[in-house]
């Protein structure tokens, strides 16, 4: 019987890990559909930023309540996972609380896990209340219907169940130890310390050892299977951020937020135009292949860079960006969160095609228009409030800008008034129709 349980456990574990590895491979494959971008500079500064923002959650606490709750759940989640290590070893070898040889320290550990589990439970319940009862505005925007809304709640239910299972398992275990049940009892006396689950003991009062064992085993199995399920749910969820927040912050932009990149392809063309000796009609030099003219800007995920695609997978859908966005606050369609979610959803759509056909085949759809509307793109003031607000270092503005570049440079599709301003700049060096020769008139006016 015992050996069958061990085998089943090993199978579940391997299956969970294999499936997870498959998802990670797909994730990396999809991100690599984007253009390469060099963010290997200043590793020290990048590492420090990652430590501060991803590990230290320095941006989360800008909203103190949400930030504090998130830190509890985050720390709790990480620390309680040490316990998973023991569960896995016990599962494979059929042992009971293998780490208990740590003695007094083990008791401290278990006690800490219990307290954290309780705090996580409270935190998650408060999160659920904020989302569903207080109905905080940023959780109810247009883009938060359907899956995104369910996903957020699923995770909360999930964590509640996991924590309850963990505490139930401990309570039953404790009672079994008190009862002196074989396999559970150790010569050293009670192992573990149960500051929270001891309060559950009255619920188990009068149950036979065999019933207790069933409860303990069910809780134990459901807990570990739940964790394996969670691991594989991540890929389909905004909860990927628990893994991706780290690389995402690491690869985020270090330069001032106001600095937008200068397109290299344009640089070359402008150099040619400014160079009086260059012959624009010259045939390419011998042996030099005629390059395909580079596409300016982005109309689909392939035109974005890998960091932008990583951004899309990392987005937690928290909506802090959107709630700070001047366009969104004044009722425009633009929502920087939606920009990120659309990018991810389109990337997933492309990924699904590759899963089916082995390679991407044009499906007649693209990020522009089929996901992100022009009306959204043109509402942006490039104010960087979204970038500043994002707790995981995402840059929605860079995607908006790249898509504007496509609209303007590939499609000549700027809104009319903007096109006029640009013509003015081109002809007379100012966005308004004033003569450049009048530029110093102000000095003579009284």
């Amino acid at each position: 019987m015992q050996i069958i349980a061990q085998i089943l456990f090993a199978i579940a574990l391997v299956a969970g890990i294999v499936f997870f590895a498959r998802n990670v491979k797909r994730l990396i494959r999809n991100i690599k559909l984007g253009k390469e971008v060099d963010r290997t500079d200043n590793p020290g500064e990048r590492f420090a930023k990652m430590a501060r923002i991803a590990m230290g959650q320095s941006k989360m606490v800008r909203r103190p309540l949400a930030g504090a709750l998130h830190i509890i759940v985050y720390l709790g989640f990480i620390i309680i996972n040490i316990e998973v290590l023991e569960i896995i070893i016990d599962g494979i070898f059929g042992t009971h609380r293998i780490l208990s040889f740590l003695g007094g320290f083990y008791n401290v550990l278990i006690a800490a896990f219990e307290i954290l589990a309780f705090l996580v439970l409270v935190g998650v319940i408060l999160f659920w209340t904020r989302r569903n009862v207080s109905r905080i505005k940023r959780f109810w925007n247009r883009e938060m219907k359907g899956w995104p809304k369910n996903d957020a709640n699923n995770i909360l239910y999930f964590e509640m169940v996991l924590m309850v299972l963990f505490l139930t398992m401990n309570a039953a275990d404790y009672q079994l130890q008190l009862n002196g049940a074989t396999h559970y009892t150790s010569e050293a006396g009670i192992i573990g310390s149960f500051p929270v689950s001891q309060f559950l003991l009255p619920l188990l009062d009068g149950l036979s050892n065999s019933t207790l064992i069933i409860i303990e085993r069910i809780a134990w199995w459901a807990h570990i299977l739940g964790i394996l399920f969670f691991l594989n749910y991540l890929y389909y969820s905004k909860h990927l951020h628990i893994l991706l927040a780290f690389p995402n912050v690491y690869y985020s932009k270090l330069t001032p937020q106001g600095k937008l990149d200068n397109l290299e392809a344009v640089k070359k063309e402008v150099e040619l135009m400014m160079d009086p000796n260059a012959d624009p009609f010259a045939a390419p030099a011998e042996g030099e292949e005629e390059e395909e003219p580079e596409k300016f800007g982005a109309s689909d995920v392939f035109d974005l860079n890998q960091v932008q695609l990583l951004n899309a997978y990392t987005c937690t859908e928290c909506g802090r960006c959107t709630s700070e966005c001047p366009a969104n606050q004044t009722g425009k369609k633009l929502s920087p969160r939606k920009i990120m979610m659309d990018t991810r959803d389109r990337l997933e759509e492309v990924g699904e095609i590759i899963n089916k056909n082995g390679k991407y085949e044009d499906d007649g759809r693209q990020l522009l228009d089929d996901y992100i509307l022009r009306e959204e793109l043109w509402a942006c003031t490039t104010c960087n409030a979204c970038v500043e607000a994002c707790p995981v270092g995402i840059d929605p503005l860079s995607i908006i800008l790249d898509m504007r570049r496509y609209l303007v440079m590939e499609q000549s599709a700027a809104p009319n008034e903007l096109a006029i301003a640009m013509t003015n700049i081109e002809n007379n060096g100012a966005p308004w129709p004033y003569n450049q020769m009048d530029r110093l008139n102000w000095a003579k006016e009284k």
């Binding site: 001047p326 490039t382 809104p415």
Partner: protein, 263 residues
Amino acid sequence: MAEALKVPTMAEYMAEGKKPEVLFWVGCAGSFDDRAKKITKAFVKLLHQAGVDFAVLGTEESCTGDPAKRAGNEFLFQMQAATNIEVLNGYEIKKVVTACPHCFNTLKNEYPSLGGNYEVMHHTQFLKALLNEGRLKVEGGKFKGKKITFHDPCYLGRANNEYEAPRDLLRKLEVELVEMRKCKKEGLCCGAGGGQMFKEPEPGNKDVNIERTEQALEVNPEIIAAGCPFCNTMMTDGVKGKDKEDSVAVIDVAELIANAEDL
């Protein structure tokens, strides 16, 4: 203000074989917009008062390309940049000051990789430096004790992390500095950036400048201080939209300093 201001150009300096301490980059708004021209003049008066040896490009100046770039026209931006850099490098410019955060950001951050490397300062930073060097005196004149709130320009604040220079100057004026609910890193845009200044907004339920003006009015200021000609226009329109133009003025930090002493 009877006589015209003395505003030397780089061409004149060049002809005399001289080099100024700093180039004043006036910008399109500062050159052509009636409201912004007043800011330009106020700043020039302060430069004179502090004895700064400066010059402007005058008719050789052209749009930095900021609105084009942010509207997606990278091509036009880089053409503008190339033209301007040629002029600036031709005059061997080392240091630039401008009263427009958009010009400031573009010149400082986006020109270097195109061959334009200058020390670039926003006028509030420059004035603060003059103050620290003892070249400019800023003290409470007309505005002493007045309730003033500062609206952070996105391209000075968030974009370039400068929140204190304008505030330090206001403090020197001994005004009662009050902060809006959303300020500094979290400051709300006036609605002009990214090319919005030149187009109608997309459909929505409010204009951004009205939202921002409402935030400013929440703290009951007598003056909304600005540091950008575009913010200035937007906030002025917002104040008018709220029928408050008789009780609330929108004034650039440079104007406040110049007017405090009736320059």
